[in-house]
């Protein structure tokens, strides 16, 4: 496979794995773990394989045109930076999977966990390998979504639900800001392509839109990477299972924001605006996070705040704007991912073995789990920046950068002091982690005696700690080349000189490191008594809770303001709303006449009037008006009258050269009438003359207003259509349809060719709507409860039944059978006739008026006629109609026909046609569009019959219910 294809495979693998894991049985723990593990190992292998190409030949690119006119293409781009992140995502992902296999309990639905984890992994990979910024934002939001699912995995606990919701709200809102920011960048540069954007740094920085774009992009990055003041979601996300925390808060999720800042660093950094937003945010996050971490009583809470602090450190480095600082940032990102993942896993083991994460309850665990304790101590030392460990080297680089001069401002000059202070804090909380958990007296009150975990559960930590040591001792050999490649990718070619070594001589940074170590130990000793007292939360800041503010804002926005808006603007009265909508429609329709001056009628000479047409419409108008008049008290009459208007419409279609429409209208008219007739039975009796003398004034006023609105709309519509009809027909796409219907679509009925060929995708959408409407009707009627006064049999039926019962020689139902004898015979025999008619309409559809829609409705009429003639019970005994099958088959046939064209390398729904020579019959057109139309036909039959049968069935059901109620009494 080519490198490009491999890259695509690496992106698709996790999603495919996720889908597969989702289908595993609920307790297939091992199968899911093996699947997830193989995916991550395969992903790592691909990424490792691609290294040579990335390092030697520059980025691997895959380009697939999608919407080139909008600058949106599916682009993958793996450069050094993306490579480094990708290997972290897959590598640590593989370790997390192994760890999670042992961590997750047998009772949890583990395949779902792995399914979410894999999808999250895929989204994360998507972010780093996207070569198009809009595409990156898409994956960005996917990570928000899947992290929500992961954090809320134990959704039976309130903390998990709240934490998940908060993480989603904060990071997805940031994602929206990022999207707007990216759109602004695209507007400035004229492209969303990463390569082009990286080449347009000056253009971007000089633009007036630079500051807004910067602010929006940073909002995205800060929310994702938990920078102050958006850091509060991260500690709450600790409600997630520990493997999730180990993954999300070390190598992925929170590093997405960091990645984004690195990606755009060459083009957006280096300005004052960048320096004075990113540096303070990073600095405050660094100090606050470290300070708060010291005072946590929850083990994972301590690690969470330490993560915030380290993210602040990286952000601060990126904010400085110097290439060396960026190198340090990349390096620290890598180091932090490694030691933090191992620490989270260690915390998870402690939790797993002791049943608690509370530092007040834990102590002296060294004697029970010496191996895990040693590993955790090494990792914590790396976090504190102890020499010979990886954390030391990148922290050293950080100190060097803090000392170096950047802008010469007060903020810049004070950085060394702040950096040392942060160093002190980080040593203190690392000491607290080690001494609080592993030393001191043996723990009391634990559920069971802790012991070392299963070996394979500890293996990921062993490996990660080994890497910490290797990087810490021989950085130049182990990590040097990869870091160089990543730096080359980030800094767009210009690599500064830097030296990766443990020993640089006696320098100021080394002094700072020692001050931090000594200060940290001193601070820990000084605070020990205070910390042991068991107070929760840091002093001074205990009351300042981001969560509380967040929730207050949420409640205000989504509850109080919403309620206030509803109270002032809302109404539960539909008529008032409809009145406004229709009145607005009238105004909108009138606006062209008002704004554009007097728009007259067109100059087209009118068509000579046929007397028949005038008479026809006189009838139509009379029908419509009387239907409007009768609809309240005489429903049946109104139904007949509306049918009359429908017929006039139908004849109009015939008259004005639209035979297809006429056929369909006529058939639909029949079905609609039957449908409404079936519904009439369930409506309440209407009492005439509610108002004894005349209606009160407000009621009259309302009616006058409605009348005026109705006349207004009618008048506007009549005028508008007259103006349009008297204008010459403009050039439109119709010309293409007419000229190519036969050549391209192989049919002479242009309307049908448009439906099943040129615009088949629209038709596809339309049949889906029909399908959904049918299913909704079906679902609604399953739980149908008729009004109590409608449950009884209708009056006529009761009279008939009473007559049957009174006569000794008659049985119940004889009268109706007698009445219907001859119609029933005829209607039964009509079934094959109508069915043949349907087939005929279907077959001729491509060349003559007809087609799938018309044929489908026809066949459903054939079914309905049986119901009317013989009654629901008889039909259901003799004829099994399975409307859901018809619908499913129809949808599958249509979609399958469409997808079939992929097979031949054409776009969806491309049709093919030819003429078949069948003996005796002659040449028969055979287009693949005909197959598509068959799907339309089947679906229309299914949906129509489903709706009608479901409704017809209700009288049976309610009869049965009534009988059951009587029997019970």
């Amino acid at each position: 496979m080519s490198h490009e294809t491999l890259l695509l495979v690496a992106l698709i693998l996790p999603f495919a794995g996720s889908l597969l894991a989702g289908f595993l049985p609920t307790h297939a723990r091992n199968a899911a773990a093996v699947l997830a593990g193989s995916v991550s190992v395969a992903g790592s292998a691909i990424v490792v394989w691609l290294y040579a190409s990335v390092a030697d030949d520059g980025p691997v690119r895959l380009w697939i045109d999608w919407l080139p006119t909008l600058g949106l293409d599916f682009t993958l781009r793996l450069d050094g930076l993306a490579w480094l992140f990708a290997i972290l995502i897959f590598g640590i992902g593989a370790l997390v999977v192994l760890y999670a296999r042992y961590y997750m309990s047998r009772e949890d639905p583990v395949p779902r966990f792995f399914s979410f984890l894999l999808a999250f992994m895929g989204s994360m990979v998507g972010i780093v390998v996207s070569g198009n910024l809009v595409q990156m934002v898409f994956f960005w939001e996917l990570t928000s979504l899947f992290s929500f699912l992961l954090i809320g995995y134990w959704h039976h606990t309130a903390a998990a639900r709240d934490g998940a919701r908060m993480a989603l709200t904060v990071t997805a809102t940031g994602g929206l800001c990022l999207l707007v920011g990216v759109l602004l960048i695209g507007r400035i540069v004229g492209s969303y392509d990463v390569d082009q954007i990286l080449a347009s740094g000056e253009l971007l920085r000089d633009s007036d839109l630079y500051v807004p774009a910067l602010v929006l992009v940073l909002l995205g990055a800060f929310t994702k990477s938990a920078q102050f003041p958006f850091h509060f979601w991260l500690p709450h996300a600790m409600a997630a299972p520990t493997p999730v925390s180990a993954y999300l808060h070390s190598a992925t999720m929170v590093k997405a924001g960091i990645f984004l800042m690195m990606r755009l660093w060459p083009v957006m950094a280096g300005t004052d605006a960048w320096f004075y937003t990113v540096v303070p945010a990073g600095l405050v996050t660094l100090l606050l996070g470290a300070f708060a971490a010291i005072y946590q009583q929850d083990l994972k809470g301590l690690l969470a705040y330490s993560t915030i602090s380290h993210l602040g450190l990286i952000t601060l480095l990126l904010g400085l704007g110097s290439p060396l600082a960026a190198v340090a940032a990349i390096f620290h990102t890598l180091n932090h991912a490694i030691f933090k993942a191992s620490l989270f896993m260690a915390a998870g083991i402690i939790d797993h073995e002791t049943g608690t994460r509370d530092l007040r309850k834990l102590s002296g665990l060294y004697r029970y789990m010496p191996f895990t304790a040693s590993l955790a101590m090494v990792a914590a030392a790396a976090m504190a920046g102890v020499p010979l460990l990886n954390g030391f080297i990148s922290k050293e680089m950080f100190f060097a950068e803090a000392v170096a001069d950047h802008t010469g401002s007060l903020l810049d000059d004070s950085l060394p002091y702040w950096a040392t202070l942060a160093g002190v804090f980080s040593v203190t909380y690392s000491l607290r982690f080690i001494f609080g958990v592993f030393f001191g007296p043996p723990p009391v009150g634990l559920a069971h005696r802790p012991h070392e975990p299963a070996h394979w559960m500890r293996f990921p930590i062993e490996l990660l700690v080994l890497i910490c040591l290797m990087i810490g001792i021989a950085p130049g050999v182990t990590v040097g080349p990869f870091l160089a490649t990543a730096v080359k990718g980030t800094l767009d070619g210009t690599v500064p000189y830097y030296s990766l070594a443990v020993w640089h001589g006696f320098t100021l940074p080394l002094l700072m490191s020692f001050i931090a170590l000594a200060g940290g130990v001193a601070l820990y000793l000084a605070l020990r008594r205070y910390l042991d007292s068991g107070i929760e939360g840091p002093p001074l800041l205990r009351e300042l809770k981001g969560q509380r503010i967040f929730e207050k804002v949420l409640v205000t926005l989504s509850w109080q303001w919403a309620r206030a808006a509803e109270a002032t603007l809302g109404t539960r009265r539909l008529q008032a709303q409809m009145r406004i909508v229709v009145a607005l429609a009238v105004v909108a329709a009138l606006s062209p006449f008002i704004v554009g001056g007097a728009v007259g009628t067109g100059g087209l000479p009118g068509t000579r009037v046929a007397p028949g047409f005038a008479i026809l419409w006189a009838i139509g108008i009379a029908c419509a008006l009387s239907a409007a008049y009768q609809a309240k008290y005489h429903r049946f009459a109104a139904l007949v009258l509306v049918g009359g208007s429908g017929l006039v419409t139908c004849v109009t279609f015939v008259w004005l050269s639209a035979p297809d429409l006429a056929v369909t209208q006529l058939l639909v008219e029949i079905v609609t009438t039957v449908l409404l007739l079936l519904g009439l039975r369930w409506l309440p009796k209407r009492i005439e003359n509610v108002y004894p003398s005349r209606p009160p004034l407000p009621v009259l006023l309302r009616r006058y207003i409605d009348f005026a609105i109705a006349c207004g709309l009618g008048g506007v519509m009549a005028f508008l259509s007259y103006c349009l009809m008297t204008r010459p027909l403009p050039q439109s796409v119709s010309r293409f349809f007419v000229e190519n219907a036969y050549a391209e679509g192989g049919g002479t009925n242009i309307v049908n060719v448009i439906l099943v060929d040129f615009r088949a995708f629209d038709t596809m959408g339309e049949i889906v709507v029909l399908c959904l409407a049918g299913l909704t009707v079906f679902a609604l009627l399953r739980r149908f409860r008729p009004a109590p006064e409608s449950i009884e049999s209708p009056e006529q039926q009761r009279i008939q039944d009473a007559y049957d019962e009174a006569a000794p020689d008659r049985t119940l139902g004889d009268t109706v059978t007698d009445y219907m004898l001859i119609p029933r015979l005829i209607m039964n025999w009509l079934f094959p006739v109508i069915a043949v008619m349907a087939v005929y309409l279907f077959m001729r559809g491509h060349d003559l008026p007809g087609g799938g829609f018309a044929a489908g409705v026809t066949l459903s009429i054939a079914f309905i006629v049986q119901y009317m003639a013989s009654g629901t019970r008889w039909v259901e005994d003799h004829l099994r109609v399975l409307p859901l099958r018809w619908m499913g088959a129809g949808l599958l046939i249509s979609a399958g026909t469409g997808a079939g064209s992929f097979w031949f390398g054409y776009p969806f729904l491309t049709s093919h046609f030819q003429y078949l020579d069948i003996p005796f019959i002659g040449k028969v057109p055979a287009a693949s569009a005909l197959l598509f139309d068959l799907g339309v036909f089947a679906l229309v039959v299914g949906a129509t019959v489903l709706v009608l049968i479901a409704l017809a069935h209700q009288s049976l059901r309610s009869n049965r219910a009534a009988q059951a109620a009587e029997g019970g009494e």
Partner: protein, 114 residues
Amino acid sequence: MMEMILSIGIGVFAASGVWLLLRPRTYQVIIGLSLISYAVNLFIFSMGRVRIDVPPVLKSGAPGDPATLADPMPQALVLTAIVIGFAMTALFLVVLLAARGRTGTDHVDGREPD
């Protein structure tokens, strides 16, 4: 003047439909919606102008001449609109019946006015 007759017809259909749409009983609304959909379908259809005896069906296999045929595009639009209109009527009818069963009234607000 066929155009005049047709446009008046569309106007009357629309006006009757809107009048019913603004009424308080659900059955009136469903009848009104039917009338409005006739009006709107005819309106869209009339965008192809009034043409008599020229259905958009090609006589032979030869490519068609747009000038001698009725405009097929509005017809294709209306054809699907008719079927979707049926689906909408069916759905609305069932919602209407379910609401009537649940609330005990056929008023559009789901409760009788005070």
